[in-house]
């Protein structure tokens, strides 16, 4: 079984929803697998929720993966959400990584388009 579990979670407003469980580790070691899992999940649904609550270890490669899938989603008109960023190592990691932002995602000035806001 893969560390990244994807489940369909029904439809909201006629949009297909999916949920990807991000497992416990998002480091450079998992980065290749993470990329594939994210690509597959984004392909499958219109509203993708990434569940990060159980992540215990994360590095820059992991953060980049999340950022990349989000901007791909924005480009394709799909919604990518992350949950669980307020627990475990996340608050500290986001502060250190400079992703706990007050300003919008650099690709646009729209707050709606930033994964981390």
């Amino acid at each position: 079984m893969s560390a990244f579990d994807y489940v369909e979670s029904g439809e909201v407003d006629g949009r297909r929803c999916g949920r990807l469980h991000l497992g416990s580790s998002l480091t450079v070691a998992e980065a290749a697998e993470l990329r594939l899992a994210l690509m597959a999940a984004l392909e499958d649904c219109a509203v993708l929720t990434l569940d990060a609550a159980e992540v215990g270890e994360v590095d820059v490669a992991g953060l980049q993966g999340l950022c990349a899938v989000h901007r791909t989603g924005v480009a394709r008109g799909r919604q990518v959400l992350v949950t669980g960023l307020d627990v475990g190592p996340w608050p500290e990691i986001l502060r250190l990584a400079g992703l706990r932002r007050h300003e919008a995602c650099p690709l646009s000035n729209d707050r709606k388009n930033c994964l981390w806001l």
């Binding site: 490669a61 980049q64 993966g65 250190l96 990584a97 400079g98 690709l107 000035n109």
Partner: protein
């Protein structure tokens, strides 16, 4: 000014060493506590840095060795061991010795320094023996000064930085630890997920760092990735340029202020306009991430600007203690003069003079409280010294003892704290040596192997009660009794209460210890304690339960300089009693005296209270008035009255010590100057109480 920078450094270093000791002892209990490790490291780091700055190279070099070890501890590379804490405590003492040597003529034991350095190097991983050569020791960077500056750092790792195992987040963390940092990640290089190379680093960062660390210290963070990243560092605030603070105005504001532009017009134009950042992004001149980074920089500067005046206002001032003492003296004089003024004003019916006198009285009172307050220090500094004492002594004796403290924040006059140190050391030593049993003995007695000494301080009225409680074996009643009889303090048939018997251990030359140890038992301890406490106008009390432990309670007045007191008169002479001891005043008629059949007892609400006629005690001439006053005092639960001619009223007493000639006069602890310039003697209530007791005993037995 007498105080040179060197003195300032030494003073600061002594304080840091005291903190360090506390932290180390804490570390011993919680060897994994990051917070404590950080505190130890910072203390070492500061001593090293400022040591180098003021030319204390020996201290700086030595501290560097310990700092190096703690740097590894901080980075989880080595673990704190008991041995390490022991060594650090020794090192602390050595640094203190170096400081002492710098101040006086003492010599530092250099071989000891070398020995410690060797021991600390042994903690370092074996890979780095060459690096630890003495040439590398002198503190490199910290000497540049500790001014707070704000830096702009751009950190752009090479694409393949992950390949050699570097985690950029670790570097950012290290950077954040240098001071207050705002990190802004630049994500613009991150491609869509399909084009993402999982092992390439796309992120780069702008960091705005406000820190006391210098440029070298910041560069050091990136020292291992120098070749794998692009790092630029620029100072955006040289400290001085922020001084203009509020005077920085925007063009619009100035135009409005000058009347050249109406506020409404400005508002309208501004809302129509897009923000500069948006315009620049739209024109493609800058990327949104760059705007975000610039905004973060602006915020950091703004925040620092706001913080500066506040930090200045909150800062403290170092003042030599003698100057404070002088101030207290002067305030004391002022209080005396003020009471003279009040007295004079009361004697004349001059409304204006009375008003002025009242105003002065109010101000002087405020000034007095404030001045005495300046001298107040938390007693905690003394407590932390005891932690070390308990640790070292119990180890020496092979006992396992923990010191618990409470009320470390309780404030007491500086002088009182200083003079309290020795008696408390004696008491605690006694508890460790005689009170707490060996672990095996405790176990047999069904107690935890570890003994506890509980040290607490608490405010109680105008005094502070310090309690030293141990859970040891308690006082040996029979041994004390035997010893007391042997010393002639007690008759063969006497059967005093436990409490009275225990108080005998404070008598001169009293020790029941079977053997004399280096810790205590020479029989000089407890009477020295009592004398020191007496000198502080304090009282001492003891409770003990066999097998359960001993509690010693010391009550100390908050300040030695000025007390609230009751002014009384006998004939033409004036005396004062500390108001805190006075319970009430009652009349004593000739009839009352006759009714007592020659015994010095007076009935106070169905209770007989012994009294001491002061006129007779001090052998004063003159006739007794027909109705005298008895001032009932209470001390340690005992009530005793003092007979005086009349009670004048409350009085602010500025305590003056008596000259050497009068030092041994029984019953007098000092003097004060009254408003009319005459002198009143301060009654030493505890001593008088003993006198009254002795008289009562004679009267009963005789």
């Amino acid at each position: 000014m007498r105080e040179r920078p060197n003195d300032a450094f030494r003073e600061e270093a002594y304080e840091l060493l005291a903190e360090l000791e506390t932290s180390l002892l804490e570390l011993e209990d919680n060897p994994r506590d990051k917070d404590v490790i950080g505190r130890v490291f910072r203390a070492m780091h500061t001593i090293k840095g400022s040591g180098a700055m003021f030319g204390f190279d020996e201290i700086s070099a030595f501290t560097h060795e310990i700092e190096t070890v703690f740097d590894l501890v901080r980075n989880d590379e080595i673990l704190v061991t008991k041995e390490m804490v022991d060594l650090c405590l020794l090192a602390r003492d050595q640094i203190k010795a170096m400081l002492d040597a710098a101040g006086g003529h003492l010599e530092v034991d250099r071989s000891r320094t070398a020995h410690l350095v060797g021991a600390f190097r042994a903690f370092l991983p074996q890979a780095a023996p060459a690096e630890a050569s003495p040439a590398a020791i002198p503190a490199p960077a910290a000497a540049e000064g500790a001014a707070t500056r704000t830096w702009r750092i751009r950190f752009r790792p090479a694409h393949d930085i992950f390949a050699n195992g570097t985690n950029p987040l670790a570097l950012l963390r290290e950077l954040c630890e240098l001071g207050e940092a705002r990190v802004v990640a630049q994500t613009d290089l991150i491609p869509p997920i399909d084009d993402l190379h999982p092992e390439v680093c796309y992120l780069y960062w702008d960091v705005i760092l406000t820190t006391t660390a210098d440029a070298n210290a910041i560069r050091d963070v990136f020292i291992f990735v120098e070749d794998d990243c692009e790092m630029t560092l620029a100072s955006i605030d040289d400290g001085g340029c922020l001084d203009d603070g509020d005077s920085r105005k925007l063009l619009g504001e100035i135009l409005v202020e000058r009347g050249d532009l109406s506020a409404a017009d400005l508002e309208r134009v501004l809302t129509e306009r897009k923000r500069l950042g948006e315009v620049l992004v739209e024109d493609g001149l800058v990327k949104p991430g760059q705007v975000a980074a610039a905004l973060a920089e602006q915020q950091a500067l703004e925040k620092q600007r706001q913080n500066r005046p506040a930090a200045d206002a909150a800062s403290s001032l170092r003042v030599p203690a003698e100057r404070l003492d002088k101030l207290v003296d002067l305030v004391g004089e002022l209080v005396t003069v003020q009471s003279r003024l009040s007295q004079t004003a009361a004697g004349r019916e001059d409304a204006v003079l009375t008003a002025v006198a009242e105003e002065v009285e109010r101000l002087v009172e405020e000034l007095r409280d404030l001045t005495l307050n300046i001298r107040m220090l938390p007693i905690g500094t003394t407590f932390s010294k005891f932690k070390r004492l308990v640790r070292d002594l119990s180890r020496e004796l092979g006992k396992d003892i923990e010191l618990e403290t409470a009320g470390a924040e309780t404030e007491l006059d500086k002088t009182v704290i200083e003079r309290l140190n020795d008696p408390l050391v004696h008491i605690i030593r006694n508890s460790i040596d005689h009170g707490i049993e060996m672990p095996e003995v405790r176990q047999v007695a069904g107690k935890p192997r570890q003994g506890t000494i509980h040290l607490s301080a608490i405010h109680s009225g105008d005094s502070v009660v310090i309690e030293i409680r141990d859970d040891g074996k308690g006082l040996d009643r029979d041994a004390i009794r035997r010893k007391a009889i042997e010393k002639g303090l007690l008759g063969e048939q006497d059967e005093p209460s436990d409490h009275d018997l225990f108080l005998l251990i404070f008598a001169a030359g009293f020790s029941t210890a079977q053997t004399v140890t280096s810790v205590s038992g020479r029989g000089v301890g407890m009477d020295v304690v009592r004398r020191a406490i007496d000198a502080l106008r304090g009282t001492i009390d003891i409770h003990s339960e066999k097998g359960r432990g001993t509690t010693i309670r010391v009550r100390i007045p908050l300040t030695l300089a000025i007390i609230e007191s009751l002014l009384v008169a006998i004939g033409k002479d004036r005396f004062v009693l500390p108001l805190s001891l006075v319970e009430e005043c009652i009349e004593l008629t000739e009839g009352d005296v006759a009714a007592a059949h020659g015994r010095n007892l007076v009935r106070v609400r169905d209770q007989l209270v012994p009294y001491l006629p002061l006129r007779r005690w001090f052998a004063m001439e003159g006739a007794r008035p027909p109705i005298e006053q008895v001032v009932i005092t209470s001390l340690g639960g005992q009530r005793v009255g003092f007979v005086v001619d009349h009670v004048i009223g409350e009085h602010q007493t500025v305590i003056k010590s008596l000259g050497r000639m009068y030092r041994d006069v029984q019953g007098i602890s000092g003097a004060t100057i009254l408003g009319d310039g005459s002198v009143a003697l301060i009654l030493d209530v505890p001593q008088l109480l003993q006198g009254a007791e002795a008289e009562e005993k004679v009267a009963t037995h005789g």
